[in-house]
Symmetry: C3
């Protein structure tokens, strides 16, 4: 896994200390394909810190229709349980309407990603994301092949 | 489908160019009832453009407890696959507790909408929503009858 | 149920009337354990009113990996239907990988909470959350034991 974080989406210098600020960065992630979970918490925390925002929100978004975001206790058991659950509810297979048109074998990937959702917002307080001790921010690759993912983090507040 | 977009929720003139701005509009949607998906992407993009916000977020929200929002590759196969999936996981029927009290036949509609969720936030960069090429913003009608839906879009940033 | 709302996350006086403001409070909730739904709508509405924000968004977040948030018609039937649905899709049991490592019997709790999600954003207009008449903001306890929950509400706007 290579994580290339911090490429700015906006050009020009970013003011660090003023009211009502917005700070936006992207995280680049190379995934291993279907069922690959990755812990984004440290990257998001660093972007929040760099933003200078003390109180507000951090919005995290997966660009693309076959990846998802959420929070989970990031431990080895659940890293299998979550993909297992999604594969049980929305099994890989050829019976999806998406497959009839595109023949790319990832109908379940689209549905898994849509059900979990591409978007997560967490509070920011004291210049840090507010999360439980055993609550981490994850990215889940739902597509069947390794993908290069762009995750956009937007920190808003003051 | 009639889409009546752009009715302002706030009165008075809306300043277009300043720091830390908020811009809020609603999209009015007449749906065909259960399983009806509609692509909101162009409406949201136009509202983002009109807001003057260059960097920030756009929040999209379905008012009401039997409609949902999300992102999907908006192509004919998945437009059947997503309602099929929801009807498999949460089948229409009379066995819901909601039905015992209300007898309106839409217990599954409430649960489908709650599971998918009424709320989506997407990043804004360069005065546009940030989305993948094959990632669109959808509204899904979960209720059993055609409904007139109000979707509130709030663009925040600078 | 004891609800202790309004403990400030930020120190110092909170300015009430200016542009681009952010206002953050927490709601403390003592839950009864698995399947316990609680209506947060009045607490969120009060925090929105106190914020002085007229137009913007209110973000509501469950701190911890075994609680969830969303919207629902808060009536007795659905208060059973939603936990029933989650227990059908993600049954309590000992077969989860999480259980092998931790033996705390709440593998399903983590997965139910991750699937529903910890985060909800609603629009704010005229100093009130924008919700349907039969659409309320709920907290769902997914853990197997009573828990003391912290819910962070961040109101942003102007």
């Amino acid at each position: 896994m290579k994580v290339v974080a911090g490429k700015a989406l906006r050009s020009g210098p970013i003011p660090r200390k003023r009211k009502g600020m917005v700070y936006q960065k992207q995280i680049l992630l190379e995934t291993r394909g279907h069922r690959h979970l990755h812990d984004l918490t440290a990257d998001v925390a660093r972007i929040v810190h760099d933003s200078g925002v003390r109180t507000g929100t951090a919005h995290v978004f997966n660009v693309g229709s076959t990846g998802a975001l959420g929070t989970i206790e990031y431990e080895p058991g659940l890293l299998e349980d979550l993909p297992d659950l999604l594969d049980k509810l929305i099994p890989p297979g050829r019976d999806y309407g998406h497959e009839q048109a595109w023949h790319d074998g990832n109908g379940h990937s689209h549905l898994q990603a849509t059900l979990l959702g591409p978007s997560l917002t967490v509070p920011v307080a004291d210049r840090k994301p507010v999360l439980g001790t055993w609550q981490q921010i994850f990215h889940l690759e739902c597509d069947i092949k390794p993908r290069r993912r762009t995750i956009v983090v937007t920190v808003s507040g003051e």
